[in-house]
């Protein structure tokens, strides 16, 4: 990769959830374009999922931000229109976007549901100039799919992503190495990828306010203060990044996890155990579908006072069994639970290895029977739906036998990718 000139595109749908819902509604004969009025996509407040997932540009002018609560957003704008998310639709839109991009290069990385990277280096001979092609992609998305995207073009993923942020919406922009000084450096340091609120605050204390300030700071000093992260952001500020665009099939997943916000705060140990079991069912199913086994199990919790805690443990052997995951996560949970009401619980696994090769333990019980049960349950659920078979402990309780994920767990949130 080094030395060779690369051309990378970053394609990002503008306020994805909102524009996709807007495009779908217009397509179904609605006359109002949600993108032109203050509108948001938000979860159901009755289920305690009432946070803003996406907002229109007019809603942004009222100071509404993604992630705030629906009631606070309503306080800022009284005529705010609120729509529920439609994950099936979002999968279709994301897929349609991905399919168009695949016409331009075989190397497309789905970075999240609304973002892709595309390696255009080899395609330039076929399609001509990068700028014109970026414009063409932008126009095709608008014409063919009915929603707008930003296309950023640069010599690496970092600059392509930063270029996509320069002007919104519906724009194609470039940041080539010779444009870094004019286009990248004047921006506030917070705009730089991998600089969050905490880093911004620390940088401000040493009077680094723009990306240019950061780029011209002595890297030795940054490394002393921020360790390896300091070296990373210094390189990013100078537009240096040699990470390749990797098609998703080639990415090795590092972990699997699911969490769920409960409809009401859980206080009884049995209720919590049941919720953990339901989460383990989902995590176990996903793990087995990926054909991995895990040797690290962890739990996370959020109390009614929004305090988060997590706890994890390395196992002596690898597993993909729902029962084993449940046994570990229950133990971990009750080790760190101090009796507070629980608002959200999560289960995650990591240190994955391919199923089939496993470390045997001297004291391990025979999991073969468990494995056969898991396989049978997975098959039944695949064929007849997730609700087709459940554990007896959920019968007649009205509690969900599987927790975590949306749209039957098939859906990948922003920041994830499909496997």
């Amino acid at each position: 990769m080094d030395g060779a000139k690369r051309i990378i595109f970053h394609i990002d749908a503008n306020s994805a959830y909102l524009s996709w819902t807007a495009a779908d509604r217009l397509n179904r004969g609605d006359t109002l374009d949600l993108r032109t009025v203050p509108a948001v996509i938000a979860g159901d407040p009755d289920d305690r999922h009432g946070i803003i997932l996406a907002k229109s540009i007019p809603a942004k002018r009222f100071g509404i931000v993604t992630g705030e609560s629906l009631s606070s957003a309503r306080g800022k704008c009284r005529e705010l229109l609120v729509y529920p998310p439609d994950y099936e639709l979002y999968m279709d839109c994301s897929q349609a976007m991905y399919e168009i991009l695949q016409e331009y290069s075989p190397v497309v990385q789905r970075y999240s549901i609304d973002e892709c990277f595309l390696d255009f280096t080899e395609s330039e001979k076929r399609f001509g100039g990068a700028e014109q092609t970026a414009e063409q992609i932008r126009e095709r998305m608008r014409e063919e799919l009915g929603f707008t995207v930003n296309v950023g073009v640069g010599p690496n993923k970092l600059l392509a992503k930063m270029a996509g942020e320069l002007r919104k919406p519906d724009a194609a922009e470039t940041i080539w190495p010779w444009e870094i000084r004019d286009k990248l450096w004047p921006l506030p340091v917070r705009e730089l990828f991998m600089v969050g609120r905490a880093t911004e605050e620390k940088l401000r204390r040493v009077n680094i306010r723009t990306i240019g300030d950061l780029a011209q700071t002595d890297p030795g000093y940054l490394k002393a203060v921020f360790h390896s992260h300091g070296g990373l952001i210094h390189r990013y500020a100078n537009g240096l990044d040699d990470e390749p665009v990797t098609a998703n099939a080639d990415i090795f997943q590092k972990g699997v996890g699911n969490s769920a916000t409960m409809r009401y705060d859980l206080t009884e140990p049995e209720e919590i155990s049941r919720a953990l079991l339901a989460l383990c069912e989902r995590v176990g199913m996903r793990l087995r579908r990926l054909q991995y086994t895990a040797s690290l199990v962890g739990i996370s919790l959020k109390t009614d006072g929004f305090i988060r805690r997590s706890h994890q443990r390395e196992l002596s052997c690898t597993t993909d069994s729902t029962t084993e995951l449940y046994r570990c996560s229950e133990q971990l949970f009750f080790e760190c639970w101090k009796g507070e009401p629980i608002r959200q619980a999560g289960v995650f696994v990591s240190h994955l290895s391919f199923a089939g090769q496993r470390q045997l333990s001297l004291f391990q019980q025979d999991w073969e029977r468990e494995e056969r049960v898991d396989q049978a349950v997975d098959c039944i659920r695949k064929k007849f739906g997730d609700g087709a078979v459940m554990r007896g402990s959920f019968a007649n309780t009205g509690r969900a036998p599987l927790l975590g994920g949306v749209h039957e767990g098939r859906y990948i949130m922003m920041g994830g990718y499909e496997q």
Binding site: L26, N27, L89, A96
Partner: protein
């Protein structure tokens, strides 16, 4: 033409490789009897993929009563659903 996007019942030829060709349809009125319309001409078909929903739009003409009407039908491929898109 205005967008109405009303569901319809359609009688269609599916001839294999070609684009499906509707030959008549009827609207589903809330009251009264459904009127069947024979499609006299199809001027143009266009494949669309708005919001990731593949569809075929037909620009058609029919004699309805005494007047010649231009309208568009739409077929949602994934849902196998027809609608009167614009009239």
């Amino acid at each position: 033409m205005k967008i109405v996007a009303k569901p319809i019942d359609a009688a269609v030829y599916f001839t294999g490789k070609e684009t499906p060709r509707p030959y008549r349809f009827r609207c589903r009125p809330e009251n009264g009897e459904a009127e069947t319309v024979k499609i006299d001409r199809i001027f143009q078909t266009e494949r669309t993929n708005i919001a990731g929903a593949p569809a075929i739009v037909y620009r058609c003409q029919s004699q309805i009563g005494d007047t010649m009407k231009l309208y568009e039908l739409r077929y949602f491929i994934r849902e196998c659903r027809w609608e009167l898109y614009k009239i």
